[in-house]
């Protein structure tokens, strides 16, 4: 666990560098996290994905896979990779203030 300042607040982060507490998150922090990921400004399309991820997480307790994202969020795989280059599931989860998706091995 690490604490550091982001968007003017001092917040706790987990070992993967994701927000430790879901409740600390807000839209301003999302933009700050996005900037860290190299995404200059979050568009409506980004928000569609982020909101879907947050509601899915609240319901299921885990962030959705890319397959599930493209099937249900209304954004196809190609666009998903344009919005969140390299590893959209991981990046979008981080920006949405969620832990890294458990994924599979």
């Amino acid at each position: 666990m690490e604490t550091r300042e982001i968007a003017g607040k001092t917040l706790a982060f987990d070992a993967d560098g994701n927000l430790a507490n879901l409740a600390d998150w807000n839209e301003e922090i999302a933009q700050a996290l996005a900037t860290e990921e190299g995404i200059e400004s979050l568009t409506d399309r980004h928000w569609l994905v982020l909101n879907y991820m947050r509601s899915e997480f609240q319901e299921k307790g885990d962030a959705p896979s890319i397959r599930k994202l493209t099937k249900e969020s209304g954004v196809d795989t190609k666009e998903l990779y344009q919005l969140f280059p390299k590893g959209p599931a991981k990046k979008a989860a981080r920006i949405a203030g969620l832990p890294k998706p458990k994924g599979c091995i």
Partner: protein, 456 residues
């Protein structure tokens, strides 16, 4: 009221006919003589119950053998269903492209592994109707069940990637997760003079997540033996951030890739195959050219799961991580590759699950709580070429660590190290598989992972 047709023997009750239906008064027992009642009760048996197992691969066959030995055959009728009569030793597919095994080394009739008296149905499963507690087969037979075990495994789906099955399929693009693919690749390699060999994992999860690594390790050895290693460029392309899923093992296995001069491209999610230009392209338009592409296509559960409405987006069945009961139905249990568990999809894992599942099934039958808990234990021998192997042992919470296995400090196997002994472990696994694992016999390895002998 209809007329009295006849007097029932012993009971003193009347069987009456009303229209066409037979009507028996509600409590005839009040008329029964005590001696007759005791005789009847002592002869009365509870109705036979049905346990149906879907899939007679690694996990289904193991469960059949374990439960057949434990259940009272006058109470439970066990039926197992599979579409094929041949059992494939899938771990052996890895060795076929390199001529180490051929087809005959990896097949045996399934019936050799069924206990005497087991009811075996050879048919394709159409769907499970969970609300009705029944299974429909493609030959129109209906199987009713009280308890269902789903063990229909996972298989590759090359069609999930654009262009994968176009012109070059089985000409310059091969899989080795099927017997057909492994044999076709063996033919290709025998004639191949060298060039760019690309191994690509399309998407996680896959069965036996170490098999692709073993494949490139063996390729390095085989082309060296053939004297053309300098002409073969081996490239490992994966959607994972490193060589393997778990950080510590990923680092160590990544070093092996380096040492063996195998190029690694991580974080590559394949979008399509361009057949004419012989290249794979990722969703973010990174291109990797190949002369021969060995693909591990998207792994999914059987279509039957989707037809039954029981699967997730990859047709894997949501299953309780610990008890192996399906999330949706209390009388359906799931084992092996068919589950959505975040454990490895491997025969060794199915074996550990089988111990847990057997215990929980017995509890379920007696109406006791399901106490046995699966911890995600996996144990994999990784063939690393030149007569050596690496062993990893881990579970849901503990990543693979170095040390000795199974006896702390003694071994004979070494964890996360390359040794000849580990290679023999891998070779011995086939013998263990046919003779112990499938037959549901105990192996000298605990189903729960042990920390003894491991170094943090």
């Amino acid at each position: 009221m209809g007329e009295v047709v006849r007097r029932l023997p012993f009971c003193g009750a009347y069987e009456k006919k009303i229209g066409n239906t037979v009507f028996i008064p509600e409590s005839p027992v009040t008329f029964v003589h005590p001696i007759i009642l005791t005789t009847v009760l002592s002869l009365w048996k509870p109705p036979m119950k049905n346990l149906v197992i879907l899939g007679a691969g690694t996990a289904g066959t193991m469960m059949l053998n374990k439960l057949h030995a434990m259940l009272d055959s006058s109470q439970w009728q066990i039926t197992i269903v599979d579409q094929f009569e041949t059992h494939y030793y899938q771990p052996g597919f890895l060795f076929i492209p390199f001529g180490i095994y051929s087809r005959k080394d990896v097949v045996k009739p399934k019936r050799d592994f069924f206990p005497a008296g087991a009811k075996v149905v050879s048919a394709e499963i159409d769907r499970i109707e969970a609300e009705e507690n029944r299974v429909l087969l493609k030959n129109n037979v209906v199987l009713n069940y009280d308890l269902l075990i789903v063990a229909t495994g996972a298989k590759i789906n090359p069609d999930e990637t654009e262009g994968m099955k176009d012109g070059l399929w089985y000409k310059n693009i091969f899989d080795f997760y099927t017997i057909e693919g492994a044999c076709a690749l063996a033919d290709f390699f025998r004639r191949w003079e060298g060039g760019k060999l690309v191994l690509n994992v399309a998407e996680m999860p896959i069965k036996c997540p170490v098999a692709p690594l073993e494949f490139v390790f063996l390729a390095d050895w085989w082309f060296t033996e053939r004297g053309i290693r300098d002409k073969v460029d081996i490239h490992y392309v994966t959607p994972l951030p490193g060589a393997f899923t778990k950080p510590r093992a990923s680092g160590i296995l990544g070093d092996f890739l380096d040492k063996k001069n195998i190029h690694l491209t991580p974080d590559f999610s394949i979008a399509r195959v361009e057949n004419e230009e012989r290249k794979i392209v990722s969703w973010d338009e990174t291109e990797i050219p190949f002369d021969v592409l060995v693909t591990i296509p998207t792994n999914m559960g059987d279509e039957m799961v989707e037809r039954s409405g029981l699967g997730d987006e990859l047709r894997f069945i949501p299953t309780n991580k610990q008890t192996l009961q399906s999330e949706a139905h209390e009388n359906i249990f799931v084992i092996g590759d068919a589950t959505n568990l975040p454990s490895s999809k491997a025969g060794s894992v199915a074996h550990f699950q089988a111990d847990i599942l057997t215990e929980n099934i017995l509890s379920w039958m007696e109406g006791r709580p399901l106490r046995a808990q699966f911890d995600g234990h996996a144990n994999c021998f990784i063939e690393s070429g030149f007569g050596k192997g690496i062993l990893i042992d881990f579970n849901y919470d503990t990543e693979p660590l170095p040390g000795k296995f199974p006896l702390p400090g003694v071994g004979p196997f070494s964890l996360l190290e390359e040794t000849e002994m580990n290679h023999y472990g891998k070779i011995m696994f086939r013998w263990m598989y046919w003779n112990f694992l499938l037959r549901g016999k105990e192996l000298p390895i605990e189903s729960h992972m042990s920390m003894a002998g491991k170094r943090m």
